[in-house]
Each structure stands twice: as C-alpha cells, then as structure tokens.
Amino acid sequence: MSERWRTIVTTVENKPGVLARVASLFSRRGYNIHSLAVAPASDERFSRITFTVDVEGTPLDQVVKQLNKLINVVEIHELDPDQSVERELMLVTVRSDGRRRELMEIVEEFQAFVLNEGEECVMLSWSARPVRLDELEQRLRPFGIVELQRTGRVALPSLDR
C-alpha cells in the first residue's frame, strides 16, 4: 500500500447524524477522504467507521485529534499497514462476449466469484487487499467494464503470534 493513504478506524455512537458530523468535519477542515466504510459494530450501540485518508496535504495527527473532539467519537485508532489486515469488496460487471474462456481463466487465477451471468456480461465479486483489487481491475479492463462498485476498505489489527 502506498504511503499516501492511511487507514483510521473509529468507534462512534450509533446515533442519527453521527456520519454527518464526521463528514462535516472533513469538509470544514479540508481533509480528503479516499474511502469510507460504515456499519454497526458487534455492540449495536456503536458503529465502526473505517476511513482511508490522503496524508498528502492532510496532517494525519490533526485528523485524529479533530475527530476525537467530536463528542460522539468514542475511540480512534490509526492502523499501521504492516500490522493490520485490510479487505475491500468489489462487484464488477464485465463484457464477456467472445472472450468468455479467457475471462474465466482470470476468475480462476484470482479465485473470484461469478455472481450472475447474462448473455453478453458476467458479474463478479471479489474481496481482497485493495492493491489486489486494483490488479484484478486492471486485468478486467480490456474486456470492457460495464459497472463497478467497490466498498471502501475495512481493517482490523493483525493478531499477535
């Protein structure tokens, strides 16, 4: 992962408007969010928000401290890319007409899943490290990408051995 993107994981109160507060803070202070994933945590009183921020032009230390000032932000961690596991999910619809076998070889190579098949297109899903998703995307591009949706990354710290 390039040094430019850093991942921040926050635990916030699961209340209306909390995401708006976070987004408003980023916009007001001119911070750049690269990706954002939000969902309730295992304890439903809280949600986890995972951000990737562009640290070129955005001081990471300030992002963390300013987020921490939001009353609804309970916990905040910056994840060290070397000591965490990151995943992102991609859904992609690709043209398959005439090159179906070639396409299936790539699906096999990446161990992606075929979710849906049409006459001229195939819908795939794959979850992996974001750089690996980039690689798959590059490989699929020559076939013709019809639609593509990525979720933004989520991450957890690696376990001690």
């Binding site: 916030v12 109160e13 209306p16 408007g17 708006a20 507060r21 408003s24 803070l25 007001r28 230390d61 300030q62 401290k65 300013q66 921490n68 000032k69 939001l70 009353i71 609804n72 932000v73 309970v74 916990e75």
Partner: protein, 583 residues
C-alpha cells in the same frame, strides 16, 4: 415551580433551574411557545431581546463576565438561523453557552414545515456539540449533558433543539416522569476531557524554561477560561519572565505589572511583538498561535523553542510544532509548573538581566503614541479611550465591538483585573459590544459596564438598547463615530492605494443622539477634547438608564503599530512618527 414537572416543557425549565441558571436571554415564537408558558412560574429571569442575535451575544457577555455558562432560548427557523452568528462567535472564542431552540413537531421534521430549518445540521460546524431531543423523558439528562459539555474541557457553545410536541402539555408525547439527572446518568462515552498535565512533561518544561535566556510567557484566552490569572501571576513573578496577553487574554495578567508587555499581534505594541520575535522560548498558555498573533507563520519567532499548554490536544502542533506539548487545564498546569520550578531551586534559572534590559529598552523607545488633535479637528479615538480609562474604576467591565475602536480599546485601556474585557476575537463579529455589555451587566449588576463601539457596529445591534431600557439593565456606550467602516478604510488607504470603496457611512445620518433618546437612553454628543471628561463624568452619574455618548472622531486616524497581512512580525510598522527609530 414547586411540584415536579410532568411534561417536557416544565422539565426543560426545571432542568435549567437545576443548573443554577439565574438569567437567560431569548425571544419566543411558535415552536417554543409551550416552554415560554412554563417560564412564567420559573425563578429564572428571562430577558426579552429585540433580535435573536442579541440573545446569543448577551449570553456570551454574561459568560465572559461571570465565568458561568450563558443561556439563550429562541424559536425555530429564522430564530435559529439568527443565532448562528453568536454560536460561531462563542465557538471560536471558546465561550461556554447553552442555546435552546424550538423545532417543529417530530412528525413534521423533514416536511419543510412552517419555520422549519435543519438547526442541528446548520449549527454542526459552529457548536462544540448539539442535540436533537426526540423523547421528553430525555430532557433532564440532555440538558445536564449540554451544560457539562459547554463548561468542561475546552468550553464552547452547545445547542439543544427541541421539537414542539415533546414540550407541549396538550400533546401526549410531552408526558414524562421527572428525575434529577446526575453525572452518572450522562450517556457520553466519547467525552472525557483530561485536566491535569503529564508530570514528566511538566518536568521537561520546567527545565527548558530554566535554561532559557530570552523567554516570554505567551498568554491566551485559555488562562481566563481556566480561572488561572492568580496562578499565572505567581508563575511570572517566580520566574521573572515577561508576559504578553493576547486579545482574548487582556486582563489575565495586570497591564500595570512591570513584567507585562501588553498585547502582541497585528496591532500589538512594538515590545510585545518584538519580544516574541526575539525570544528563545515561548511558553504558550491557553493560546493557539492565531494568524493575527503570528503574522506570516514561517517568519514567526524563528529562534524560539515552544512549550505549548492547552486543554485541547488538537491545538498542540496544529499551527506551530512544539518542543514540549502539554495537554491540560491551564490553572493546574501552571500550578504544576510552579512546583516543578521551585523543585529546581532558585539558582537554576538562566541569567536574564540582558534580556530584561533589551525589553525595557524597546518599551522606552517605542511606546504607543498618537498626535493630539489640532484645534477644530475631530477627536482622536485614542484620546477618548484614555479619558474613559482614567475616569472609570479599574474593575470596570469593557465590552468592545470589532474594528479600529476595538484595537484602540485593547491598546490604551489598562486591564488590571481578569474578566473585565469582553470582545469578539476569533470571529470578529461587528455589533458584538452592545448585547455583550448588556449580558455582562445582567450577570454582574453591581459593576460598571461600558461598551466601546464604532458607528458601523452600532448600526448592527443598537436596537438591543431598547432591551436594556425596558429590562432595566443600564449600560454605558462610548460610540466612536468617525462616519466610516474605519478598519476597512485603513486597509484601503494603506493597501489599496487610497481607493476608498463602500466604506463611508454618512456624516449626518443617523442622528445618534435622537436615536439613543428614542430608545430610552440619555444621549450626549461630544465634539471637542475639553467636553470628553465631563461627558464621561455625567454618564457615570446616571445609573437608572443607559447612556450613549457619541464621540465625533477623526476618520483619518489609523491603528498603529501594524503588521501588514502576509508580512512577518519583524516587518512591523510603528506610528509614522517613530518609523525613523527602527534600525
């Protein structure tokens, strides 16, 4: 109110009473009507303002003067948007304030109902926190939380938006069973402000101070918010280190003290600006390296190491990298620094006689100066402030608007007591002074309160003098009328080749004396220097109503010293009569 509340409206008023609120400022309207019905029986004094912005600034003035949170209450929609300016003002100056706004009934939210606006959405970026209450049962707890958040950590404004149905006894949604909320009831898992400083860092700071040869204590508004003025005096005297007090900290250290250098920054005096610039150590206490203090950042205090103390960790390193950064309450940290300094021993401090004599040399060479007005000319604004200063007790509370008069007041008044200077520093809100002075007087009725205002500012909020008259909160207003938006005029003269664009208000309109009289005030117009002191004396004798003195001042006068925007503090412009003395 005697029996326990049974509905949201009563619960709200009781909750405010329980917080010790004695005065609140507001204006009723549709969505907040049920709460106003409950106020009739309350012990809280409600001051009925003439514009919601006035309510907000009054709450701020009250908080500045008393140290207690100011409270404002207004209705939904336009009332809520009218109070956005004071909220932002309080946010930038860290003023503890709780603002209650009415909201359309829960079911109507999101339907573009009459007088509906997204109050919590609009005020998100200008409050420390805000709440939309959706259940009457939550009211006591949320009001408790609101006051807790407003007054602890870095203080700030908190807004509580309350839909009409949950406070309206005619609506079943307003039913609630009363409880007295305690800290244990608060549901704020993400809020736990630290107060004491890290002892290891305090020790490091004490050593860094001891070894500094050219240190300056850089004191900001946080010292006042932390009620740390006494501790600061002890620390400064113990260390014998000169002190600068920023615009937000005037009065935190006595101006007449030999260690006091006064205000630094864009219109700071030469010595305060230059001492910071030449320092080898800045001990920043509750200050935030604001651009009006630092000038061009990469040329600011180039040789100084930085000790930065602030209760808000996000301030540490935000603007200027520190050598020692201490998160903590200024009073506690200063007390810890005193202990740590004593532990180092009296002879631990570096030799500073040379530094002290450099500083006093600047003070002698570059005092604040202005030229007396020529006979027949309009008054010099500096002269008016000096006369006000010399004809009022030292504990007089001075509230200021924004512009040239604000800078003259900060420069020429001698602030020897904390909590006597009330102004809009961060946001620079014109029209601040009159409502802020009224709020201060409401909180401190036994103190003399003067507002220093400009003619531009006066025209923005003067209607609150009607509030002062009707509510019997007499203040005194020194209106420095130069017929211009003076500070803008100064910039156009100095930086836009004297191309004056839309800054001349009017030499004749309005008639301030008639206007003030119409609002129930005593009004005096002063045009010559010999009338100044007698007019002030007359104003000080009148205590049963507000007094407005219109001083006709000279529009050609500019505020000096000045560090032009974008320049470093080393490029300070002193008064033209002193410019030749700069080496």
């Amino acid at each position: 109110m005697s029996s326990n509340p049974t509905n949201g409206g009563e619960a709200l008023v009781r909750s405010l009473e329980m917080q010790g609120v004695d005065v609140m400022f507001g204006l009723p309207g549709g969505a907040i009507l049920p709460v106003y019905d409950s106020i009739i029986e309350s012990s809280i004094r409600h001051v009925l303002v003439r514009h919601e912005q006035g309510a907000g600034h009054m709450a701020e003035g009250y908080a500045h003067a008393t140290g207690r949170p100011g409270v404002a209450m207004v209705t939904s929609g336009p009332a809520a948007t009218n109070i956005v300016t004071p909220l932002c003002d309080a946010y930038l100056d860290s003023v503890p304030m709780v603002c209650i706004t009415g909201q359309v009934p829960l079911a109507a939210i999101g339907t573009d109902a009459f007088q509906e606006c997204d109050t919590t959405g609009i005020t998100m970026a200008v409050t420390k926190h805000n709440f939309l209450v959706t259940d009457a049962q939550d009211i006591p707890r949320i009001i408790h939380e609101a006051f807790h958040i407003a007054t602890t950590g870095r203080p700030g404004p908190v807004l509580v938006d309350i839909p009409k149905d949950i406070v309206d006894p005619a609506n079943p949604r307003s039913k609630m069973s009363w409880y007295e909320p305690t800290d244990a009831d608060m549901e704020l898992p993400g809020y736990a402000p630290l107060t004491a400083g890290d002892p290891a860092l305090i020790g490091e700071a004490a050593k860094l101070i001891a070894s500094a040869e050219r240190p300056v204590l850089y004191v900001g508004g946080g010292v006042l918010k932390a009620r740390a003025a006494e501790a600061l005096l002890e620390l400064a005297e113990l260390l014998q280190i000169p002190v600068v007090t920023t615009l937000m900290a005037r009065g935190a250290f006595p101006d007449r003290h030999e260690l006091c250098l006064g205000m630094p920054g864009m219109h700071g005096n030469y010595t305060a600006v230059t001492a910071m610039q030449q320092a080898d150590l800045l001990v920043s206490l509750g200050a935030r390296f604001d651009d009006r203090v630092t000038g061009k950042l990469d040329g600011f205090a180039p040789d100084a190491k930085i000790i930065h103390v602030d209760i808000d960790p996000a301030e540490l390193g935000k603007v200027r990298q520190y050598n020692v950064g201490i998160q903590g309450d200024c009073r506690l940290v200063i007390e810890e620094l005193i202990t740590a300094t004593r532990a180092l021993g009296a002879d631990a401090q570096a030799e500073r006689t040379q530094w002290r004599s450099m500083v006093s040399g600047w003070q002698e060479k570059f005092p604040l100066v202005y030229q007396d007005s020529a006979p027949g000319d309009r008054l010099k604004p500096q002269f008016v402030i000096e006369q006000l200063r010399d004809n009022n007790p030292a504990d007089t509370i001075l509230a200021s608007g924004v512009g040239q008069h604000q800078m003259y007041a900060s420069q020429y008044w001698k602030f020897d007591h904390p909590y006597t200077w009330i102004n809009s520093g961060g946001l620079g809100t014109m029209g601040f002074s009159i409502p802020a002075a009224i709020g201060a007087k409401a909180g401190m009725p036994d103190r003399r309160v003067w507002a220093v205002d400009g003619d531009g500012c006066f025209q923005m909020t003067a209607q609150e003098l009607v509030t002062a008259t009707v509510e019997n909160i007499p203040i005194k207003v020194a209106l420095l009328n130069n017929s211009y938006l003076g500070m803008v005029r100064q910039w156009q003269e100095m930086f836009y080749d004297e191309r004056f664009s839309e800054v001349h208000l009017s030499d004749t309109c309005p008639d301030y004396v008639k206007w003030a009289e119409a609002m129930g005030c005593e009004a005096i117009r002063v045009e010559s220097p010999e009338e100044v002191a007698p007019a002030i004396a007359k104003a000080n004798e009148i205590n049963d109503r507000s007094v407005v003195i219109e001083f006709r001042t000279d529009a050609r006068e500019n505020v000096f010293p000045m560090v032009p925007s974008g320049k470093t503090n080393s490029e300070i412009l002193v008064d033209p009569s002193q410019q030749g003395l700069l080496s």
